[in-house]
Amino acid sequence: MRAPDRTVVALVMAFVVLVAAGFFLPSWAVSLLVVSLARGIVALGLMVQFRSGLVSFGQALFFAVGGYAVGLIALKLRVTDVILLPLVGVAAATLLGVALGFLMRRYREIFFAMLSLGFSMLFYGLLVKTETLGSTDGFNVPTPTVFGLRLSVLATRTLLYDLTVASAVGVALGVHWYLGTILGRLDTALRDNEVRVEYLGYAPARVIHVQYVLGAALAGGAGALTALAVGHIDPSMAYWTTSGELVFVTILSGTGSVIAPFLGSLVFGLIQTFALQYAPSIWQMILGVALLAIILYFPGGLWSALERSRVRA
C-alpha cells in the first residue's frame, strides 16, 4: 500500500477547515477569501504554463470572458442558477481558448506574452465600446439562485463561498493529478529544451495547446465566480493591469505545488487589504517591494521559502 500523497491530504484538510470556517468568518473575510481563491484558480492555470516557461500577459481575457458570460446570461436569458453559471463561464472561456490556442501554440517566450496581451486588450476595447453593457462602468450581476429558489443573502453568500472552496480544491486536485501524468511532466522538459522533447516523439505545440486551454478554462471559471461574488463586472477585468496582477501572484507563489497559487493569492489579498488600511497612499509601493523581494531572494516563490524553512526546522 502506497503512502497517501501529502498534497492530496493537505488539500482535503484545507477543504474541511475552510468550509467550517465559512460559518464563523465575517463577510469581509469571506469576500476576501472568495476573491483570493478565485484568483488562485487563475494563477494555478498560469503556473502550469509557467512550468513550461510560458507566461501569458493576457490571462485577464479569459477571466473577463468568464465574468461577462455569466453577467450576460444572467441579465439577458434570466438564467441565475448558481451551479450552471460558473459552468457557462468555463465553457465560454474554453471555447475561446481552443480557438486562440491554435495560434498561441506557435509562440514562445516574450512573443507568447505579447500576443496574449494583444488579445486581451482587443477584448477590453470591445467592452469599453459597448454602451449597452455599461461601457467602463460595467453592470451589476443579478443575485444567483439555487434550483430556481432565491435564498437569503447570507445563505447565498455562504453557498458561493463553499462553491468557490470546492472548485478551488477540485481543480487543485485535478491539476495535481495532471502534473503527475506524462503530459504534465513534459512541461518542465519543454522549458529546458523544446527540441529534445520533439526528439522524444512528443509534439510540443500540442502540449502547449492543452495547457493553454486548461489555463483558459480555469480563468473563465474564476472570472464567473468572481462576478457572482462581487456582484458587478466591468471592462477593467480585461485590462492589462489585471493580467499583471495575476502574473504577479503566480511569481509570488512559485511553482512548487498546486497549493502555492492559492497561498500566494491569499497573501497578495491580505497585503493589499492591510496596506490599504494602514498606508493608503503607498499600497502599490508595498506590493512592488514584496514582489521585488520575492524575485531577488526567493526565486522559487513563497512556496520555496516555506519549504526551505521546513527543511531547516
Binding site: W28, S31, K129, N140, H232, D234, S236
Partner: protein, 383 residues
C-alpha cells in the same frame, strides 16, 4: 484627494462646532466624527471587499464618498445587504437609482444629466442659430452619457441641428493632434467636451496652439476646475460648467464663503467640485443624524436615512433637495457661464453666469433622463 480634503475640513468643523449657522452645533447627534480613509483607485472587485471591511472590521457608522461610477454601482447592493448607510458624493452616472431601488444608499449631489441639459439650454439662448455640433469625449460611460445628453437636448430644443463629428478617445490619451485636425476640417459651429483634469488641459493647450477655438464655440461641461491652472491658456468665450454650482459658481452665502476660504487657506487652491460634493455629503450626514436623534440617543441608520429623504438643506455651493428616487437622489440648481481671464488681476473669472432651477434641468421624479429629454422636457419648470 480634493474629496478627502473637503471631507476633513467639514468633519473637523463639525467636531469643533465651528461651521457657520445653522450648523454650529458640536458633533453629529452629540458625538464627534472620526474619519476613516480608503483609496478608491484599486478596481471594483477590491472596492467591494474594502466596503465590507469598512462596515465590519472597522465598524464605521456610515460610508461617505466614491467618485467612480463603477464603484458606486458595485457597492450599492452590498450597502443594502449590510444595512450600511452610504452617501455617494459624486459618481456621476444616473443609472444607480434608475435601475434599482436601494434602501440604505443616498446620493447628495445631482447626477450627470443636468450638465448636458443646462449646456444645451444656455447655448441655444446665446446662439439660437446653431447649425452643427461635434463632440470630443472619453470613450467611457461618463463621456458617452455626457455627449448623448447634450446632443439629444440640443436636438430636442432645435431639431434641425446636426451632429457632424463624434470623437471618442481613450482616457488618459493625451495626444489630440489628429482629433483637432479632424475638427478643423469638419468645422462644426459648436464643440462639446466633458473632459476634465489632465486630459482637458492637454486638449486645451493643443487646440489653442492650432487656433481651433477661433472658429468654434467651445462648450466645456466639466472643465471649470482647470481654469486656475490654465489661466490665460484657457480661451476667453468658452462656455463652461463645473458639474453644478460649485467653485467659481458657488453662491456667496456665509456657508459657501466659509468653505472656500477655509479650503484655500489650508491647501492654497480653490476647492474643486469634488471637494464641494464630499463636504456636502458629510454635512448631509450631520443634518440627517441630528434631525433623527432624539434626546441624545444614537439614531439607527434607518432613522438617519428617513430624516434625509425629501429634505431640503443649504450646503456650501447651493441648496440641496433630496427629492428624486424616493428621496434618495439629490437635485440642485445648475450653473453655467462664459470664461473670461482677468488680465489685470491675473485671475480667472466667469461672466454671464446663469443659474437654472433644479426642476428645469433635472428629470421629474421617477423619469429616466433619456426618455425625458426625448419627450421634450415634459414637466420642466424653468422660471
Amino acid at each position: 484627494m480634493p474629496a478627502k480634503n473637503g471631507a476633513e475640513i467639514v468633519a473637523e468643523a463639525i467636531n469643533n462646532g465651528t461651521l457657520p449657522t445653522p450648523y454650529n452645533t458640536k458633533g453629529v447627534a452629540g458625538r464627534s466624527l472620526e474619519l476613516v480613509v480608503v483609496d478608491e483607485s484599486t478596481g471594483t472587485a477590491k472596492q467591494v471587499t474594502e466596503f465590507r471591511a469598512l462596515a465590519e472590521r472597522r465598524e464605521v457608522d456610515a460610508v461617505v464618498g466614491y467618485l467612480v461610477a463603477g464603484s458606486c454601482l458595485a457597492v450599492a447592493p452590498v450597502a443594502d445587504e449590510l444595512k450600511m448607510l452610504t452617501f455617494f458624493s459624486t459618481c456621476s452616472t444616473p443609472r444607480i437609482f434608475e435601475e434599482n431601488d436601494f434602501k440604505y444608499v443616498y446620493r447628495t449631489s445631482a447626477h450627470l444629466t443636468p450638465d448636458g441639459v443646462t449646456a444645451a439650454r444656455y447655448l441655444l439662448k446665446r446662439m439660437p442659430n446653431v447649425k452643427t455640433i461635434a463632440g470630443l469625449n472619453w470613450n467611457m460611460a461618463y463621456g458617452q452619457d455626457a455627449w448623448r445628453d447634450f446632443r439629444m437636448s440640443v436636438q430636442a430644443l432645435k431639431p434641425d441641428v446636426e451632429a457632424i463629428n463624434e470623437q471618442f478617445t481613450t482616457f488618459g490619451g493625451g495626444q489630440y493632434g489628429a482629433e483637432i485636425s479632424a475638427l478643423l476640417t469638419k468645422r462644426p459651429t459648436v464643440l462639446h467636451t466633458a473632459f476634465a483634469g489632465g486630459d482637458f488641459e492637454a486638449f486645451v493647450v493643443q487646440m489653442t496652439a492650432r487656433g481651433l477655438h477661433q472658429n468654434i464655440q467651445m462648450v466645456m461641461t466639466a472643465g471649470a476646475g482647470s481654469m486656475f491652472r490654465l489661466l490665460d491658456k484657457l480661451p476667453d468665450g468658452a462656455i463652461i460648467e463645473d458639474r453644478g454650482p460649485y467653485s467659481v459658481f458657488a453662491r456667496p452665502t456665509p456657508l459657501g464663503n466659509w468653505f472656500r476660504t477655509t479650503y484655500e487657506q489650508r491647501h492654497g487652491i480653490t476647492p474643486p467640485y469634488t471637494a464641494y460634493h464630499m463636504g456636502q455629503a458629510v454635512l448631509a450626514f450631520k443634518i440627517a443624524a441630528d434631525k433623527a436623534s432624539k434626546g441624545g440617543a444614537k439614531p439607527a441608520p434607518e432613522e438617519i436615512g428617513r430624516a434625509l429623504e425629501q429634505l431640503k438643506f443649504d450646503a456650501f455651493g447651493t441648496t440641496v433637495h433630496m427629492s428624486r428616487s424616493r428621496g434618495h437622489q439629490a437635485v440642485t440648481e445648475s450653473a453655467i457661464g462664459v470664461y473670461k481671464f482677468d488680465k489685470a488681476k491675473n485671475a480667472p473669472t466667469v461672466v454671464d453666469v446663469t443659474y437654472y432651477p433644479a426642476d428645469c434641468v433635472n428629470p421629474p421624479d421617477g423619469m429616466k433622463g433619456e426618455a425625458w429629454i426625448k419627450g421634450g422636457f415634459k414637466g420642466a419648470r424653468c422660471d
